[in-house]
C-alpha cells in the first residue's frame, strides 16, 4: 500500500522536475544555450513568495507577483547577459550563464543572509483512504503540473508563436527568412521558462517550506539532468525525464540503505544514459555540417 503513496509522491516530484526541465529544454532548443541560472530563478521566486507572504499574508497575491517578477527576471537576464553573446562560442555563453547563476545566489545571500527562511504558503494536510495517507500537496502538484504541460503542448502546437518557436529551434536562419522575429521568440521562450520556474518554486515550498540562497541549485541541477536524460531540446523528453527522475529519487529515498546515495544514483543514471544514447532518450541526433 505504501508503494502507491510513494509512487504518487514520485510522480508529483517528477512533475515539478518536468516543469523546471521544460524551461531548460526550451531555452536550449531555441537559443542553443544552457541557461545555468534557470535554477536560481526558482530561488528568486521563493524569496519573492517569502517577502510578499510575510508582508501581505495573501498567498495567491504573492504567487502572482512571484510569477510576474520571475518572468521579468528571465527576460532581463537574457537581454543583459546572453543577448550580447549571440553568435559567440558556446563556451563563452556557458561561462556567462554560470556567472549569472553565481551572481543571483550571492545577491540573495547578501540581502537575506545564508540562514534558511521559513515560508508557509498554505497548510494542506492529508487525505486518508482507508490505510492510504496521501499528502494533498502531492495531488495538487501533480494535477497542476500536468495541466500546465498540456496547456504548453497545445500552445506550441496550435498558436502562431508556438509554431514559430518550433521553426526557430529547427533552423534559425530559415525561420528568419520566413519573417519570424527570432529575438522576440527567444524572449518569449525565456518568459515561459521563467514562469514555469516560478510555479515550480511554489510547489517546492509547499513540500518543504525552507528557503536559502542555494535553494534553486539542487532542483536546477536535477531538472537539468532530467532534461538531458529525456533528450535536451525535446519537450516530451523533458516531461519524461522529469517523471523518471522524480520516481527514482522518491523510491531511492524510501530505502534507508541507499537513501544517502540518491544524488549519486541519479547522476550515475545520467552518465549511463549519455553513454548509451548521447542525445538522451528522445533527443534527435544532429550531425554537424562543415
Amino acid at each position: 500500500m505504501s508503494f502507491i503513496v510513494t509512487f504518487l509522491n514520485g510522480l508529483s516530484l517528477g512533475g515539478v522536475y518536468a516543469l523546471i526541465a521544460l524551461g531548460y529544454t526550451m531555452v536550449y532548443g531555441i537559443a542553443k544555450m544552457l541557461n545555468f541560472a534557470h535554477g536560481d530563478i526558482i530561488m528568486v521566486g521563493g524569496y519573492v513568495l517569502f517577502v510578499f507572504i510575510s508582508l501581505t499574508g495573501q498567498p495567491i497575491l504573492a504567487i502572482i507577483i512571484a510569477a510576474f517578477l520571475c518572468s521579468l527576471l528571465g527576460i532581463s537576464m537574457e537581454k543583459a547577459a546572453y543577448k550580447p553573446l549571440r553568435g559567440a562560442s558556446p563556451l563563452a555563453v556557458l561561462i556567462t550563464a554560470i556567472g549569472v547563476s553565481y551572481f543571483l545566489q550571492s545577491l540573495a545571500q547578501i540581502i537575506f543572509g545564508a540562514a534558511p527562511k521559513f515560508v508557509i504558503i498554505a497548510d494542506l494536510g492529508v487525505i486518508t483512504f482507508g490505510e492510504l495517507v496521501i499528502p494533498v500537496y502531492s495531488v495538487i502538484t501533480l494535477a497542476i503540473s500536468i495541466l500546465i504541460m498540456i496547456a504548453l503542448s497545445l500552445f506550441i502546437k496550435f498558436t502562431k508563436t508556438g509554431r514559430a518557436m518550433i521553426a526557430v529551434s529547427e533552423d534559425k536562419a530559415a525561420a528568419q527568412i520566413m519573417g519570424i522575429n527570432v529575438n522576440t521568440i527567444i524572449t518569449v521562450t525565456f518568459l515561459i521558462g521563467s514562469f514555469l520556474a516560478a510555479v515550480a518554486s511554489v510547489f517546492y515550498l509547499l513540500k518543504a517550506p525552507n528557503i536559502s540562497p542555494t535553494f534553486g541549485s539542487k532542483p536546477g541541477i536535477k531538472a537539468f539532468t532530467a532534461a538531458v536524460i529525456g533528450g535536451i531540446g525535446s519537450i516530451p523528453g523533458a516531461m519524461l525525464g522529469g517523471f523518471l527522475l522524480g520516481i527514482v529519487e522518491v523510491f531511492s529515498n524510501s530505502v534507508p540503505a541507499i537513501a544517502p546515495y540518491t544524488d549519486a544514483i541519479e547522476f550515475l543514471i545520467l552518465i549511463v544514459i549519455l553513454l548509451v544514447r548521447p542525445t538522451g532518450i528522445l533527443g534527435k541526433k544532429r550531425r554537424e555540417k562543415v
Partner: protein, 385 residues
Amino acid sequence: MKDKSKFKLKHFINYIVIGAATIIFTILNFTGVLGLSEQFLLEKITIAIILAVSLGLVVGFLGELSLGHAGFMCIGAYIGGKISALLSSSSLGTGLPNLLISIIVGGIAAAIAGVAIGLPALRLKGDYLAIVTLAFGEIVKTLFLNSSDESFGGPIGLETPRYDRNHLFIIGFVLVLVMLAIIQNIIRSKHGRAITSIRDSEIAARATGINVTRYKLLVFALSAFFAGIAGVLYSFSNYRVQCTKFDYNYSIEILVMVVLGGMGSVNGSILSATLITFLQVQLASILTGDLAVLQNIFYALVLILIVIYNNAPALKGFRETHNLKTFFSKLFKKKKEDVDPSLVKDDEAKWNRIPTKINMDELLSMDVKVTESTMKPDKDKGGSS
C-alpha cells in the same frame, strides 16, 4: 643572436619569476621574517596556481568546460591524505619521502578518475560534458560524505598528519615549477598544437588525422593529475580534509581565476590565481559573515563582464582598438614620435602608399568587368539585327 635570446626570455619568464620567488621566500623563511600567516598564504597561493593552470589546460587549450575540478582535487586530498596518514604510522614517519609518495599516489588516483570521466568525454562535448563533470564532482562529494568513520571519516572529515609548515610552501613552489615544465612543454610541442586545433575546430582536427579522443583523454588525465596534487598539498596544509569544501562553488572559483587570467594563457592563470588568493586572504578579516559574499558577487561580475568583453560579436572592433597590447604599443610608440617632427610623418605617409603587393582579387575582378562590357555590345548587336 639578439632575437634568439629575446625569444627564449619570453618563454622562460615564468620559470624565472617563480624560481626567484622561491629562492627569495626560502631565504626570508630561514632568516625568520615569514610568520605563520605568510607561510599559510604562500601555501594557498601555490595550491591555487596549480589548480588554475591545470584547469586552464582543459578550458583554455582544449576548449571544453570542466566543472568538476574540485572533485579531482577532493580525490587527491582524500587519497593522498589517507596514504600519508598510513605511512606516518609506519617507519617512514612524516618526512619528505612520505610527502612525495602521497603526492604521487594522490595525483595518480585523480588522474585515473580523470580518465574515467574522460571516457564519456569521447562521446560528449560542450554543455553535456560540463554537466557530466558537474555530476561527477557531486558524486565524489557524496561518496566521501557517506564513507565510514574508519576509511575516510564521513561527514567529520579525514584527519591528516600536517606536514612541517616551515617547508611546505617551498615544496609547493617546486611543484609549481615542475608542473609548468610539464604543461608548457606539452603545449609548445606538436601535441599542444594538436590540442589547440581541437579547440579551434574539432572536425578540422579530425580531418587532419589528429586522434581527438586520445588527446582529450590525455588533457583530462593531466589536468586531473595536477588537481589531485593540489588536493594532496591542501591536505598537508590543513589538519583535516572535509568534502564540503570541494563543492561546485570551489570549481567556479577556479574557473574565475582561469577566465580572469585569460583563457589559453598560462602566465595569466598564474597571475590571477596569485592575485585572487592574496585578495581573498586579505579580505577574509574585513569581510566576515554574510558580507563575505561580496567577494562572490565580485567574482560573478568579473566572470560575466570579461566573457562578454572578450567574446561579444558586437564589441569586436572595440576590442581590436582597445586592448592591453595596443595600449602598451601606443605607449612605446609615443616616445618615438615625440622625437620626430611632423615633417617626417608626411614622408612616411607617402612611402606607405606605394603598393608592395599585387592585389590578385582586384585584378581578377577587373577582368570580369571587361568581359561583361565586351559582352554587352555583342548582345545589343544581336538583338538589333
